[in-house]
Amino acid sequence: MSTTAENVIEISGLSKQFAVGRGKRRRTVHALDDVSLAVADGSCLAVVGESGSGKTTLARILVGLESADGGEVVLAGRPVARRPRRAERRARARDIQMVFQDPNGSLNRRRTVEAAIKEVLAAHHRVTGDEARRRVGELLDQVGLRPAHARALPGELSGGQQQRVAIARALAAEPRVLVLDEAVAALDVSVQAQVLNLLAEIRQARRLTYLFITHDLSVVRQVSEEVVVMRQGRIVERGSTDEVLDRPRHAYTVLLRDSAPRPGWRPRLSTGADAREVEA
């Protein structure tokens, strides 16, 4: 993949293995296997693929929550250390933020919504006091939450409400790159539409870059210019969204497209596979 200054993310030959089990049952999981990917500044790249294909692992390496075993990541022009130090991870948080697949796990259960967002405002923008309170209200409104939700604890919110808090929190940091891991999956279609419209507006206004991980091909069509399809730790297809959805080339992409519920669709059994695994 060509290396230009236009790319805010450049990944080459990235690999990551996990060991699971002990003794005779020990297995090595190739979560990522030689993944190369460039993401243009200000673009939205959708990542779709099999469950267990390494999408979340890729995202976690990008934001520094996981270290790679091989390959390189260049973020906003700076090479990212394979095993980043704490200070470096903090600095990276201004460049890149992630909304997690599981909002429950990313929100501190003892901290109110307001405190969670204020923490980000203070850490990244030194915004405090009345200004912070105003900004919290604005962010909550943008994601369709009420002012009263500011005082709620995560446990007092529905799944979709937690997810929206996580989005508001990531937006508060005003990063250059936002990684959204199934971030709109738990929202009803109307609230989802509102959030997708909001994300599109913000991207326009601030030239943000999105890495949009999703299982929903309708969402892919709506939000992204380009899409990569992952399977078993590898990228099996990449192209413009229209190209990939209308004229998929890889057999797995065809299978994905045909499995999406639509009028007349019926669920059916076929065979799936998890990440490629070899005996250690």
């Binding site: 297995r27 469950s51 929202l187 509102q194 929903d216 695994e277």
Partner: protein, 351 residues
């Protein structure tokens, strides 16, 4: 007899700011083998409705109304009976699989112990069955999955473990809270086929919470639409798509992104979602409804059963034709934006 019947279930939760109503009288029924979809706004009370059935609502909540499981009110069961019901009659797949599993137990322990406890199976038999179940839900490397701790599995793999555990006891009733949101569409198709099979073979009834209207239409016999803690419409998938009777349902159908074509901006429902406890007389949807008439602010619509349709809207009759019509993509099967028929304009003209 119905497997499940909810009769006017209300849920109030005391808070610092006074009592908060989260459910405002939910009534629904499920026949053996039937699948009822539960869709609706985020925060409208879908998960809370399921929790009243298992009696896992937040501490301090006051629940009134009846929840009948095979004719017995689960709300009045003693501790021992309740435990038995939870162990073999009802299975739950929760919205967040990570919360359902003990983080320090390997999958093998979790599944095998569950089977031994619930069915008194021997360890060997339970292990064999656990392995079969994992294979059935599409886990390719069963050994690896059994040896993994929850944090070593992806979101979708974890959800399949939970699904395997749920169908293991061949329950009478499955409460499935967005069971497939974490799954890729191919795996989703497989998992739904497995649940379909359970319904056909064991007459398992399913209360299925989802945001995917296409998915709900494909697998459910009927769909209930929830808004601000109450049901506003119940209909068959065909009825719902061809002719929704409640304005909220219509707008929900129109908000779906389209797999065939991109639109400049997705249609959204104006205004902010409202909580059940914020409803003050009149129709809960009035503040956001493009078809609201002055009386909608004063009169509270009842859930009316009429000519095979169940709707909670004061104007359901007069609006029927206007709300009917499939969104563009359904009709054509291909491109075209969701129907944007200048609805606001029409409303103004009428008012």
């Amino acid at each position: 007899m119905n497997v499940l019947e909810l009769d006017d279930v209300r849920l109030d939760l005391p808070s610092k700011h006074g009592d908060r109503t989260l459910l405002r009288g939910v009534s629904l029924s499920l026949a053996p083998g039937e699948a009822l979809g539960l869709v609706g706004e985020s925060g409208s009370g879908k998960s809370m409705t399921l929790r009243t059935v298992l009696r896992t609502e937040p501490a301090g909540a006051r629940v009134t109304g009846r929840v009948l499981l095979d004719g017995r009110d689960v709300r009045t069961l003693g501790a021992a009976d309740l435990r038995r019901v939870r162990a073999d009659a009802i299975a739950m797949i929760s919205q967040n699989p990570r919360a359902a599993l003990n983080p320090v137990l390997r999958v093998a322990r979790f599944l095998v112990e569950g089977l031994c406890d619930a069915r008194g199976e021997s360890r060997e038999a339970a292990t064999r069955r656990a392995r079969d179940l994992l294979a059935q839900v599409g886990i390719a490397d069963v050994d690896r999955c059994m040896a993994s701790y929850p944090h070593q599995l992806s979101g979708g793999m974890l959800q399949r473990v939970v699904i395997a555990a749920a169908v293991a006891s061949a329950p009478r009733l499955l409460l499935a809270d967005e069971p497939t949101t974490a799954l890729d569409v191919t795996t989703q198709s497989e998992v739904m086929a497995i649940l379909d099979g359970q319904r056909r073979e064991h007459g398992m009834a399913m209360l299925f919470v989802t945001h995917d209207l296409e998915l709900a239409s494909a697998v459910c016999d009927r769909i209930a639409v929830l808004y601000a803690g109450e049901i506003v419409e119940i209909a068959t998938p065909a009825q719902l798509h061809a002719a929704p009777r409640h304005p909220y349902t219509r707008l929900l159908l129109d908000s779906r992104p389209n797999i065939a074509a991109r639109v400049p901006a997705l249609p959204v429902i104006p205004g902010r979602p409202i909580a059940a406890y914020e409803v003050e007389g009149g129709c809960a949807f009035a503040a956001r409804c493009p078809w609201a008439a002055p009386r909608c602010e004063r009169e509270e619509p009842a859930l009316v059963h009429d000519a095979g349709r169940t709707t909670r809207c004061l104007r359901a009759g007069e609006l029927a034709d206007e709300l009917a019509g499939a969104p563009a993509d359904d009709a054509a099967g291909v491109s075209g934006a969701p129907a944007e028929t200048g609805r606001d304009g029409e409303t103004e003209a009428r008012a």
